[in-house]
Amino acid sequence: MIRLENVSKSYSEGIPALNDVSLQIGEGEFVFVMGDSGSGKSTLIKLLLKELEPTEGKIYINNQDISAIGRRQIPVFRRQIGVVFQDFRLLKDRNVYDNVSFAMHVIGTSGRTIRKKVPQMLSMVGLAAKYRSYPKQLSGGEQQRVAIARALVNQPKILLADEPTGNLDNNNAWEIMNLLEEINARGTTVVVVTHNLEIVRIMKKRVIAIEQGVVVNDVGAENTQWEDAVSDKAQDIYLSGDKEAGGFFDED
C-alpha cells in the first residue's frame, strides 16, 4: 500500500529531514509513527501527500510511483488519502454538516450522493445529532471526529493522522483512537503520527520510530513493547511529562 525506497529529503539548508528511509506499510495495517520534534515525521507526511518531492529515492502508493504523477493529477491522487491534523483544521464559519459535505463538493460529488453519505458518516463518528453545530460549539474530541468524518467521507484507502490526539485530554484521545481502530477494522490503512506513548503502549500496534530523519526502529504489532520501539532518550523526555518536548502524560 505504502512503500518508501531509500527516500531522503533535504531542505535548502542542507540538513536532511529524512535520510535514506525505506519502509513498507501493507493494506489494512494500523501503524504508529513516533519521533521527537524535528525527527522528520511531518516531512514524511508531506512526502506521502506529495506536498514535497523527495531529494532521492522513490515513494509508491498503491504500487504507483508518485514521483511520476503530474501536477494536474495530484488532486485525484490525494483523494486516495484522508488526512487528520492535530489542530482539526475545520472551517469555523460552517457547521458540522457543511464541513463534511465540503470534502465531497470539492471533488465534484453530486448533491444526491452528498445528502446520502454525509449523515451516514456523521452517524459513524457519533455526531449525527450535532450536524447543525458550529466548530466552536463542539469539544476538542468532537471537532476531531468531524475532521475524521471529513477525511473519510470520500472513502480513501489510507488515513494519515498527524498527532490526532495532540490537542485532546485523555478521555477524548482514547475516543479518537478507538474510532481510528474501528475505521481500520473496516479496511482502511491507518497511519498515526503521535507522541502519546500510553496509547502506543496499550494499543499494541506496529510502531515505526524516527530519529533525526532515520528509522531507528520498526517493531511489529505482535510483539510491540513501546520501550523497544522508542529510544531511551525519547522515553526520558516523555516520562518526564515535558509536554513542550513532546511528553504527554504523567507516568503512573
Partner: protein, 302 residues
C-alpha cells in the same frame, strides 16, 4: 464541472463578495464609474459618427467631362462610377439643370439679370456627375480613380471638410481610447486586489481543499466567480443609469447648441444601447475575469 459543483462555486463566489463587502463595493463602484464613462464616450462617438455620416452623405465629388464627349462615353463614365467602391449614390446633372440651379442661388430676386443670357447657357460645358460617398475617408482613392477615367476633364472635391471631419472623428476616438484604457487598468487593478484579499481570507480553506483533492478549477472557480460578478454588476448598474438619463442628456445638449440643430441629430436611446449594452456587459465580465485571473495566477498556486 457538474451542475452541483458549478452551483457550489457560484455560491462561494457570492459569499466571497459578501464577506469582503468593503473591497467588493469599491471595485463595483470603480467598475461602474469606468463603464459609465465608457458609455458616455461610446454615446458621443456613436452620435458623432452618425452626424459625420449625415454630413458625408451631403459631401459630393463633382465630375466634369471633356467638351466633345459622346453620349456612350458619358454612360460609360456613369457605369464606372456606379461600380467604384465606396460610392453611395450618383446623380447626373445636365448643363441645363446646372444653369437652373445656379440661377436659383445667385440670381434670386434679380431674375432679370439672368434673362440677359437669353437662351444661351453659360454653363454649357458644365454638365457633371455628383458622386456621394459612403465613407469620406475613401474620398482620395475615389478621386484618383475618377481622374483616370477616359473623358473626364476635372474632378472637384471638398477636401478640407472631409479631412476636418475625419481628423475630428479620429481625435475623439483616440482621446476616448486613452481615457478608457487608463480607467480599465484601474478597474483591473482594483478587482485584482479585491480577489487577493478574498484569497488571503480563505487561505485555510484553500489549503484544506488542496489536501482533500479538490481539482484546480474547483479551487479557482469561486474567485473567478467573484471577479466576474463584480464586473457584471459594475456593468449593469451604469447601463441602467445611462439608459435613464440618455434622452435627458441629448435634449439638454440639443437645447444648449440649438444653433447647430441641422447638424445635431442624435441617435435614439435604443439605437445606442443595442450595441452599447452587450459591449459594456462583455467588457465588464472580461475585466472581472482578467482581474481575478491575474491574482489567481499570482497568489493561488494549486
Amino acid at each position: 464541472m457538474r451542475i452541483s459543483g458549478f452551483l457550489y462555486s457560484l455560491k462561494q463566489g457570492m459569499i466571497n463578495i459578501w464577506r469582503n463587502k468593503l473591497f467588493s463595493s469599491a471595485s463595483i463602484a470603480t467598475m461602474t464609474a469606468c463603464i459609465f464613462l465608457f458609455g458616455i464616450f461610446f454615446s458621443i462617438v456613436a452620435n458623432f459618427q452618425s452626424m459625420v455620416r449625415n454630413v458625408e452623405e451631403g459631401v459630393a465629388i463633382t465630375v466634369f467631362f471633356e467638351e466633345d464627349i459622346s453620349e456612350e462615353q458619358l454612360q460609360a463614365i456613369g457605369k464606372a462610377i456606379e461600380m467604384a467602391p465606396g460610392v453611395l449614390d450618383q446623380r447626373y446633372i445636365s448643363a441645363d439643370e446646372a444653369w437652373e440651379e445656379y440661377k436659383k442661388i445667385y440670381y434670386e430676386g434679380d431674375e432679370e439679370a439672368a434673362e440677359t443670357y437669353g437662351d444661351d447657357n453659360p454653363l454649357e460645358t458644365m454638365s457633371s456627375y455628383q458622386v456621394y460617398l459612403r465613407d469620406v475617408s475613401q474620398q482620395q482613392d475615389l478621386v484618383k480613380y475618377l481622374e483616370a477615367l477616359a473623358g473626364v476633364r476635372q474632378v472637384r472635391q471638398s477636401e478640407s471638410l472631409a479631412n476636418m471631419l475625419m481628423d475630428f472623428n479620429r481625435l475623439i476616438g483616440y482621446v476616448s481610447m486613452g481615457i478608457i484604457t487608463i480607467l480599465f487598468a484601474v478597474a483591473i487593478f482594483l478587482i485584482s486586489n479585491t480577489v487577493s484579499v478574498g484569497i488571503a481570507v480563505r487561505k485555510e480553506e484553500i489549503a484544506i481543499m488542496k489536501l482533500i483533492g479538490a481539482a484546480d478549477y474547483f479551487v479557482k472557480a469561486p474567485f473567478y466567480v467573484e471577479g466576474i460578478m463584480i464586473g457584471l454588476i459594475g456593468s449593469i448598474l451604469p447601463m441602467v443609469i445611462l439608459y435613464s438619463i440618455y434622452e435627458r442628456l441629448t435634449d439638454f445638449v440639443a437645447e444648449k447648441f440649438s444653433f447647430l440643430e441641422n447638424l445635431m441629430t442624435f441617435l435614439s436611446v435604443d439605437e445606442v444601447f443595442q450595441t452599447l449594452a452587450p459591449v459594456a456587459v462583455i467588457l465588464g465580465i472580461g475585466i472581472g475575469f482578467a482581474g481575478s485571473g491575474l491574482t489567481i495566477r499570482k497568489h493561488l498556486k494549486v
